[in-house]
């Protein structure tokens, strides 16, 4: 099991030995690759050196935003290349970094975050409801709804809508109003956390207790112990 991952190759032996090969088109050029591997592995398998467009490889960082189309289907879809499998007849291209404009702000200095949204992102209220952003989202987030919630000032709802957002930015190039919905989402979500949410009451008490040396006696007792005594103490702690 452990030795079966061939560190020199993008694709493990099991995958490479699969009799089934499929034809895919990568950035306009045709290649044969083992069925079922991810689009990212297909890049490596076909000898592409990847320096951009690869990040966590686990579907969380949004580096590998990809456009793809399946056989005979005119619809161009989006996915994260590290977490999507090849199919026969598929055509795909990794998306280049899109030059979206990010507003900069100090959340504590803003006068009224809900109004300031329109200064920082004046294009946000210009959404024309085309829904292209929602269709472009590889995380199936209702992006259009999120933008409207931001415009209406329901930042709590925005934070919930965009919790799954990996910031791949696929919603940005499709927007006919030039909105960067993911950036609007981060702004609204952070503004909700910083300006609207109550701070947890117990937390400051705990910070104060530590500062006041409330645990000093415990520390003194513990840190004097030998390794054996420590081991016994840790072993006897019950949940």
């Amino acid at each position: 099991m452990t030795g079966s991952f061939d560190t020199e190759k993008a694709v493990s032996r099991e995958e490479a030995l699969q009799p089934q090969m499929v034809t895919v088109e990568i950035a306009g050029k045709s290649f044969r690759v083992p069925a079922g591997i991810t689009l990212m592995k297909a890049l490596w398998y076909t000898g592409h050196e990847v320096t951009r467009g690869a990040g966590c490889l686990g579907g969380f960082c949004g580096a590998c935003a990809t456009y793809y189309r399946t056989k005979d289907d005119p619809k161009v879809k989006t996915c994260l290349g590290c977490s999507h499998a090849v199919e026969d007849g598929m055509s795909f291209s990794f998306a280049p970094a899109f030059p979206a404009r990010k507003a900069t702000y100090d959340l504590n200095e803003l006068e009224n975050p809900k109004q300031d949204l329109f200064k920082l992102y004046p294009e946000a209220p210009l959404c024309r409801n085309c829904n292209a952003c929602t269709e472009a989202c590889p995380q199936q987030i209702d992006v259009r709804e999120g933008v409207w919630k931001a415009v209406f000032g329901d930042f709590k709802a925005v934070s919930e809508t965009f919790m799954d957002c990996v910031m791949c930015g696929m919603c940005v190039p499709v927007c006919i109003a030039d909105i960067a919905p993911n950036l609007v989402g981060v702004y609204a979500s952070r503004a909700y956390g910083v300006r609207e949410m109550e701070k947890p009451p117990g937390l400051s008490d705990r910070i104060q207790a530590i500062a006041d040396g409330e645990y000093a006696d415990d520390w003194e007792r513990i840190l004097k112990m030998s390794d054996d005594e420590l081991q016994q103490t840790s072993a006897t702690i019950k949940s």
């Binding site: 493990s12 999507h84 979500s189 520390w219 019950k238």
Partner: protein, 526 residues
């Protein structure tokens, strides 16, 4: 056997298993199990390092080889700086961002360099949460003892005390930046119980804790207009005549040119080593986790600690093939998910520490009680539908949306069927030796996060990594910000590299690789 028939073993045994409680192992039993089955104890995978600060110390062959490797930088490289900064932060994950924000907040001129994009890291993938003793029935002392027990009593006490005591103020800092931790009805931070912990202590943002933290930190680094150097790989450090660190040499990944950065202080926050595939294991780590910081620190003379121990996370994906090595969140076990072998039996208390659980999974598989898939891979079941049965329908959608999505992409519905797992290379327990401010034995060279060592002992407790990143990112950032006010730039030399090369020659090291590795060589060569 068809996959459905394999699933049925889990479905059919579920009710009986729900009646069962499995005790945690005694210290002696843990020891025996780990020595027999944990990959850290496979002697054939280890060898001594030939020369340098850790000469003679045992480590895995993959790491020994890169530590002894040669630099890509020629002796006579022109060292006229392209950039100058008070503080050079290498790495754009959690520790790097925390260090950069804290140093910048104190007025230091910060340059953050990373070989991928800002934020591309392991931090962004952390799902299980962040251990901080905030609950009324908990305390930093309990957190200390749990961590020590998890680390087999080998943790550096001073580093550990520092981390657990600063935890609550880190929670405060992140809340003030807008991180949306899960809350209880009374507004307090919601805490979940993690493997190896006696108290519920994990702060979470559903199962997107790392993503939420990194979205916020990245946004803040950009808001502050901290200078960034992306797609630039650190390939060598720079030192002055006294041996203090004075900057670094980078290689631009696009045009391969060398870039020289002069800095009064350097903070290495380059993360772990998973992509070196220690002992041939698949890994949960991100694309750039190639141990670069260890190599750079070693060549300039900083000793490493506990480099013979790695964490193999119990739940790496086994099936479908696209998910091999990828992490399946520990949260499933925290919420009561069972591990089940091919006979439908539980075989370990699922909330035991990661090394115990991993060792027991390896034992089941090596002794023939694993489950073999049509792809040839072997693993054990993680009973996800149990959570729906136990806590009600919709539980997985509500608490584990990322995992539901992760599997749904490949047509697996974890609400209805269990998932197959096997340990995956997850974390480098050891690393560069640091003090409580993150400083190494090389003056003005700091290390924060996974690249550092000592804090976690021989096994990192779940949820302690996110806290480690934040605490030591913060402390190193604040320490350097103060120090740079009263110092000037040092001279830029490669003296340490020349010494290192002379030593390699003296020890007749053959087949020397070029290191750091920077990115794994996955592209098929013609």
């Amino acid at each position: 056997m068809e996959i459905q028939a394999l699933h049925d073993v889990v479905h059919n045994s579920r009710d009986a298993r729900r009646q069962q409680t499995l005790p945690k192992l005694s210290p002696a039993e843990r020891d025996t199990l780990i020595k027999k089955f944990h990959p850290d104890h496979r002697e054939a995978a280890y060898r001594p390092v030939a020369f340098g600060p850790n000469e003679g110390d045992m480590t895995v062959r993959e790491l020994a080889s890169v530590l002894e490797g040669d630099s890509v930088v020629p002796d006579d490289l022109s060292l006229t700086p392209h950039y100058e900064a008070d503080v050079l932060v290498v790495g754009g994950g959690g520790a790097g961002c925390a260090a950069a924000l804290h140093a910048h907040g104190q007025g230091a001129k910060v340059l953050l360099a990373t070989k991928l994009r800002l934020g591309d890291s392991n931090s962004v993938m952390a799902q299980g949460g962040m251990q901080i003793a905030v609950a009324p029935n908990d305390s930093p002392v309990q957190h200390f003892l749990d961590t020590l027990k998890g680390g087999h009593m080998k943790n550096d006490h001073e580093l550990l005390k520092t981390m657990v005591e600063e935890g609550p103020s880190i929670a405060k800092w992140l809340l003030e930046l807008g991180v949306l931790f899960d809350r209880d009805d009374d507004g307090n931070l919601h805490v979940k119980k993690g493997g190896g912990s006696t108290k519920a202590r994990l702060l979470t943002c559903s199962d997107y804790t790392g993503l939420e933290i990194m979205r916020v930190l990245k946004d803040e680094v950009l808001n502050r207009k901290i200078q960034l150097l992306e797609f630039a790989a650190a390939v060598e450090l720079l030192s002055d005549e006294q041996g203090a660190c004075t900057g670094a040499v980078f290689q631009d990944l696009d045009n391969k040119r060398f870039l020289v950065v002069a800095a009064k202080t350097v903070i290495l926050a380059t993360g772990g080593i998973g992509r070196l595939h220690i002992q041939g294991f698949p890994t949960s780590n991100h694309y750039g986790a190639t141990g670069d910081g260890l190599v750079l620190a070693y060549r300039i003379g900083a000793p490493l600690v506990q480099i013979d121990t790695f964490q193999y996370h119990p739940s790496g994906g086994v099936y479908p093939e696209q998910l091999v090595g990828q992490l399946v969140t520990e949260g499933i076990r925290s919420e009561g998910g069972h591990l089940v072998n091919g006979r439908g039996e539980r075989f370990v208390n699922e909330l035991d520490t990661r090394d115990v659980v991993s060792s027991s999974i390896i034992r089941e598989c090596e002794e023939g009680r694993g489950v073999r898939m049509p792809t040839g891979r072997v693993g054990v079941w993680l009973d996800t539908p149990l959570l729906e049965a136990e806590h009600g329908e919709g539980t997985l959608d509500k608490h584990f949306p990322a995992m539901v999505r992760q599997y749904a992409r490949y047509g697996v519905d974890i609400r209805k069927d269990p998932v197959l797992i096997y340990p995956t290379l997850h974390y480098q327990n050891g690393g560069v030796k640091i003090d409580v401010n993150g400083e190494t034995s090389v003056k003005n060279l700091f290390v924060a996060g996974e690249t550092s060592g000592g804090l976690h002992g021989r096994n990192r407790l779940m949820g302690n990594s996110l806290l480690d990143l934040m605490v030591f990112g913060k402390r190193s950032g604040l320490t350097v910000a103060e120090r740079v006010q009263t110092m000037s730039h040092g001279s830029l030399t490669l003296n340490h590299l020349q010494r290192f090369r002379a030593e390699a020659k003296k020890h007749r090291v053959t087949n020397q690789v070029t290191s750091p590795v920077v990115l794994p060589a996955y592209a098929e060569q013609p």
